[in-house]
């Protein structure tokens, strides 16, 4: 582990937490601003019934932007989500100047009508973070969900 890169742990954690806050605020441009140009977003859940990983979202940065831009055209659940991540593990890849970060994730949903909060999903973020410039950026986010029953689902990625 490099001591030099190790110094970036706080910056790496802040990047993960900032990504959650911006998504909670539906500041999609802000979120995309944290992402590298080649950013990939994948969300999967393992089906115990058919013993396979199911890919529920699979987007490049451009496709993610299109998804965000089209949200106002859709009928959707407008109840806000709250993401709670805790960074568990940061592994540095000195050669690639990257960090591989694993965070646990809980997503809560609060109803606009009545303000009832319920746990919506649990899982983990598996993030690849570039440390090439002064400001860490997200190169890849793989959301691995434990929860598969998401009720009516949602239009906004975790």
């Amino acid at each position: 582990m490099s001591t030099k890169l190790n110094g970036n742990r706080v910056d790496v954690e802040e990047l993960i937490y900032q990504s959650c806050m911006l998504m909670d605020e539906k500041d999609f441009n802000g979120f995309l601003g944290l992402c590298d140009d080649g950013f990939e977003y994948v969300l999967t859940a393992y089906s115990w019934e058919v013993k396979k990983d199911m890919i529920f979202l699979d987007h490049s940065k451009k496709e993610l932007k299109e998804l965000f831009d089209l949200l106002p055209k859709h009928n959707t659940d407008r109840n806000p989500l709250t993401r709670n991540a805790v960074v568990y593990k940061v592994d540095y890849d000195d050669a690639k100047k990257q960090a591989n970060v694993i965070s646990t994730l809980q997503v809560y949903r609060t109803t606009q009508d009545g303000g009832r909060t319920g746990l919506f999903a649990v899982g983990k973020y598996h993030d690849t973070v570039s440390l090439k410039s002064g400001k860490p950026t997200l190169v890849k986010r793989h959301v691995k969900l434990d929860t598969r029953d998401l009720g009516c689902g949602h239009h906004i990625p975790f």
């Binding site: 396979k52 089209l70 859709h74 009928n75």
Partner: protein, 405 residues
């Protein structure tokens, strides 16, 4: 002018086939009767052969009639279904949704059963039962099972039911070339708990008038004069089934990512949909076959089962593309599916028992075009036949019971 209570709750000036009493979507007693008269008497799609590809593989199924089932592939490769209950003291035989085990062994006292449902071991049998009870007396209860129409596993709890083919009554003929072109494989199976009545979901799957709900479908079909959207026809089949004619969707019009040109053997760029009574939809769109089945657990709650299938021969790249195509509209983040589900829950919230709900209108007639509600009416007609009740006056004494009395 708005309406007062009497006006709001009076029967519509329409033929009785064209509306229903909302109580059929919320009444617990009606639901209990549906379990007996509908779910326990009809062929239901329980699994796909690819979910249990090898000898000794098993897969569970929560039958909507209220019975837990386990589907097993025997060493002879035949797929059989049994009630998932140990005949000793009634424990669940299998707890996991899928797995592989030469024998199904009950964890409680280790009675063991083979893939034919025969009891093959009772620990200390002679010591406890002497000659009063033996393995031959305690085989599992086998349930009528057929593997057909593209390798799906169908079950019927009624030992005296007719063959599956007679039940389907030609409704799947139109999709057979695609279902049977080559072996299929389930790549998604997931459930969604919904607070809605199961019939409302089937209604949504039976008409396209609700494309006003879906931006994606408007832009890729309804608003594209070349898509064939308006020439699609709904066709009713015996036993409450229905199908929708094909069209060419213009996926390029939607920019949300995905929807490749991958297509499907015999259907390069099309869409075919068949609704089977009471709770099955086969929906082949572009490169993915989506199967909807539901496990109703009360009048207002159900587990919605979703499957997506591709071809068994898919390379990893093709399979990933199929998943991406499916995800655009049908995953828990799918553009369309989320919209369908919030609308179905909305209906159940608004039309709850005691809510002073109006009659539910299913009266669109458009020469069986895709925005006609003929399939809903056909579905309600089958409900009447099976329940011995009228969907416009469902709380009147059921006809069958009146005869029996």
């Amino acid at each position: 002018m708005s309406r007062n209570s009497t006006q709001w709750t009076q029967k519509p000036k329409l033929p009785s086939t064209h509306y229903s009493d909302p109580v059929i979507y919320s009444d617990p007693e009606i639901f209990e009767e549906e379990k007996e008269k509908i779910f326990k008497k009809t062929w239901l799609l329980a699994s796909h052969e690819s979910e249990l590809p090898n000898p000794y593989d098993f897969r569970t199924y929560d039958h909507p009639g209220g019975t837990k089932l386990v589907i097993v592939r025997g060493e002879d490769m035949k797929i059989r279904t049994f009630i998932n209950m140990c005949p000793h003291r009634g424990n669940l035989l299998v707890y996991e949704p899928s797995g592989n085990s030469k024998n199904l062994v009950c964890i409680f006292h280790q009675w063991a059963f083979n893939g034919k449902g025969e009891c093959v071991d009772i620990p200390r049998e002679k010591e406890g039962y002497q000659d009063r009870l033996c393995k031959n007396d305690v085989a599992l209860r086998e349930v009528r099972t057929e593997t057909a129409f593209g390798g799906f596993v169908w079950v019927n709890l009624d030992d005296n039911c007719g063959p599956l083919k007679d039940y389907v009554a030609g409704a799947l003929d139109y999709m057979l070339p695609e279902l049977e072109s080559e072996p299929l494989e389930t790549f998604w199976y997931y459930q969604a708990t919904l607070n809605t009545n199961w019939k409302l979901i089937h209604d949504t799957n039976s008409e396209f008038y609700h494309d006003y709900l879906h931006y994606h479908n408007r832009i890729t079909g309804m608003l594209d004069p070349k898509s064939g959207y308006w020439t699609r026809r709904l066709k009713a089949f015996p036993n409450g089934h229905a199908q929708v004619g094909t069209m060419q969707a213009k996926y390029d019009a939607y920019e949300g990512g995905g929807h490749s040109k991958l297509g499907w053997p015999h259907l390069p760029d099309g869409w075919k949909l068949v609704d089977l009574y009471p709770c099955i939809t086969l929906n082949l769109r572009n490169s993915v076959l989506r199967i909807d089945t539901y496990i109703p657990i009360s009048a207002t709650k159900m587990y919605y089962e979703f499957r997506a299938l591709g071809l068994k021969s898919d390379t990893p790249e093709i399979r990933r593309q199929r998943q991406k195509d499916a995800a655009v509209i049908w995953s828990p983040w799918g553009r369309n599916l989320h919209e369908d589900l919030i609308a179905s829950e909305g209906q159940t919230i608004a039309m709850a028992k005691g809510s002073e709900s109006m009659y539910f209108i299913a009266a669109r007639e458009e020469d069986a075009g895709c925005q006609d509600e003929v399939a809903l009416r056909h579905y309600l007609g089958e409900w009447d036949k099976r329940m011995g009740r009228s969907h416009t006056n469902p709380l009147a004494k059921p006809a069958a019971r009146t005869v029996a009395a």
